[in-house]
Amino acid sequence: MAGLGREVAVWFVTSVSTRLGRRRASFPPPVVFALVLVPFVIEAIGVFWPAIQGVMLSFLNWNGIAPAKVVGLGNYASLFADPIFITALKNTAIWIVLFGGLSFVGGLGVALLFQSDRRGVGIYRTALFLPIVFSLVVTALIWDTFFQPTGILNGLLNSLGLHSWTREWLADPATALYAIIVAALWREIGYVMVLFIAGLKALDPAVTEAAKMDGCTRWQRFRYITFPQLRSVNLVILSVLVIDSLRSFDIVWAMTAGGPFNSTQLLSTYMYSEAFQGRQLGYASAIAVIIFVLALGVIITYLVRALSEDKES
């Protein structure tokens, strides 16, 4: 290993010095190629290859058993004429805004509440963080029981005399998606809270203290002192939330499987149901490509913004 390291180091130094203007350039030793190629090949086989195949599949009409037919952009064209796809797209947008947004606001709120080390705060923090230890499928089971027609929520409403408020929460297209979002939030807020508490602990208390001395109100201290300092944490949390939103699948599948009559389909659940229930692998791949483009779009937009802000500062 030592020899290998030296060889690489030597090449690196020489190539750097080449850049610095030396005349003689050295060709990188084979070890360098090996170091680059091995991970590249693994990545190519495990990630790029299937991803590219997925894109290729999206131009085909294939049920997994019969020979495939090439349909060009046909799958994409029919996607936008497919009312279920439009519903899934809309639901995914609602999911990102409500699930992502409320996790962010809620997580930040409870983090601010519970950041101090007063006695007993640990209990609240633990209680909020506890749901994260359950897998999403277990979370779905718990909330499924809660939302049953004869379940706890309706029982509670009945006992309060609010009979007209009772619903079949998961079977009513007007409430099903929001009921699932509540269940998903229950688990996500604790996670976001922990990330924010970590960020808040890293802040210098002297700055806030100084602002307090200067007579800033609580809101001003948060708005102009604390929040701007959390920018790097925000970046992490926003990326986590966008990715978590777009990959949300298990909790929806376990609670409603996209039903009742497709009213809770997300892009991810619709992709699964088209691929493995409808056996439309080409069509499902087209949905997968759209999810990929959306995720990439959101993340690139955010990175570009974040980088340009960095430059400004």
Binding site: R19, F48, W49, A66, A68, E168
Partner: protein, 429 residues
């Protein structure tokens, strides 16, 4: 940038381009390899099964008896039905698939046979299944007349009820549609939900209503043609089916879409709900001690001019065309379909299905005797929606039927969407 690093960049680009070019060959051929296997590979025969409940015990008894014969070993892999169903195409198209599979007779099997994925089992039929009915043979055959399926058992569907609850409510099992509706109204007036279903986790159960109403109103021929794509789901005869279904809606449990299968079964056993259109599998959800209180009646007749057909889903086995143990697979199927294998299978299955082999000895309870008689007197039998239409067609049917239950006034839009989905799925296969 130096010339060297430019060369490196070019090399990387070339490598990338090569990857893209190679990836172009997505393996979507689909047809099975036709390597002739002369001799069985060593090792046990792998039997992939979708049964994890009562049916599993029957299958285990058959395997145990076969293993004892010393002609070869069978290894049983049992998976939950939902996993099995989604994985099956991947199994059959993989390089080294499991050998034998439990599956549904009819179109669901033909879909695979048409792609050359199934082993021709005609010699098993010729050699050992001579006493099977010709209807079963037709059901197991491809369009080319080869048999690719060995049936193991079949079961019946009926409207289940609790005898003691019916006595309390003053109801006798109805025979005609008008009686059925009148009885439902009578049950409802006594504060009991007339009909329940567990649609929140088993939405496919609603398709039983569609199948039976279509069989009773338009007859078996129309029904099978419709499911095969020869008629449209938004045509007038289908609207007649939904008009009849609409008469049932007031009698369904108001929370039927949000009720789980377990909840619906508990409602039936505790007398909160009166009737349940279901297959014989429902019986396993009732404790053995109280099962004698369970009864069922034949789905009521709507139009006396339409011959009475019944649903009789047939289960059985198929074999991958790529199996490396075809001789062992055939020996096992001959045993499983023979009188002894059939007796072991059915007696292990808790009395919820019927033997396909006429010489099998099966202990029958009152319900299975009634079920057998009902099917024998039927003018024609069908399988079930997903088995007759092809498994992929089930999802759009579930969507249409559950949406109709929630929004009955939206019928035209629901049927148009159903037809569009059905056509889309057919064009993809």
């Amino acid at each position: 940038m130096t010339r060297r690093s430019r060369r490196l960049l070019a090399a990387t680009g070339l490598a990338l381009a090569a990857t893209v070019a190679l990836a172009g060959c997505v393996s979507t051929g689909g047809t099975a390899s036709t390597t002739a296997v002369t001799k069985d590979a060593s090792g046990p025969l792998v039997l992939q099964s979708r049964f994890t409940g009562a049916e599993k015990a029957g299958l285990e008894a058959v395997i145990k008896a076969f293993d004892k014969k010393g002609e070869g070993k069978v290894q049983l892999n049992s998976l939950p039905t939902t996993t099995f169903d989604t994985q099956l195409p991947s199994y059959l198209t993989s390089k080294n698939p499991p050998d034998v599979y439990t599956w549904y007779a009819g179109q669901a099997t033909r879909d695979f046979a048409d792609q050359g994925l199934l082993l021709d089992l005609s010699d098993v039929w010729k050699k050992s299944l001579g006493n099977y009915s010709s209807a079963l043979k037709t059901l197991s055959s491809t369009s080319k007349g080869e048999q690719v399926f060995v049936p193991s058992d079949y079961y019946w569907w009926g409207v289940y009820y609790s005898k003691s609850e019916f006595a309390k409510l003053g109801i006798t099992p109805p025979k005609t549609w008008d009686d059925f509706l009148a009885d439902s109204a009578k049950i409802k007036s006594q504060g009991v939900t007339p009909i329940t279903m567990g649609l929140s986790d088993n939405s496919w159960l609603a398709a039983a209503w569609f199948d039976y109403l279509d069989l009773r109103i338009n007859g078996a021929k129309y029904h099978l043609d419709l499911l095969a794509g020869k008629h449209s789901f938004d045509s007038a005869p289908v609207k007649k089916v939904f008009a009849a279904f609409k008469q049932v809606l007031p009698f369904l449990s108001p929370s039927v879409l949000g009720t789980s299968y377990n909840q619906s079964m508990s409602d039936l056993s505790t007398g909160k709900a009166g009737m349940y259109l279901a297959g014989a599998f429902l019986e396993t959800a009732v404790p053995k001690a109280t099962r004698s209180d369970l009864g069922f009646f034949q789905f009521p007749v709507i139009d006396p001019a339409v011959p009475v057909s019944e649903e009789a889903p047939t289960d059985g086995f198929m074999v991958s065309a790529k199996t490396t143990r075809p001789a062992l697979a055939k020996r096992f199927l001959e045993f499983a379909a023979g009188a002894k294998g059939q007796s072991l299978l059915l007696n292990g299955e808790d009395g919820i299905s019927l033997a396909v082999n006429p010489s099998a000895t099966q202990t029958m309870d009152a319900l299975s005797t009634q079920g057998k008689q009902m099917l024998q007197s039927a003018s024609q039998v069908t399988q079930f929606f997903n088995r007759d239409a092809g498994d992929a067609q089930q999802t759009p049917a579930d969507t249409a039927l559950t949406q109709f239950i929630a929004q009955p006034n939206n019928l035209d839009a629901i049927l148009t969407a159903w037809q569009a989905s059905a056509v889309k799925l057919r064009s993809g296969s």
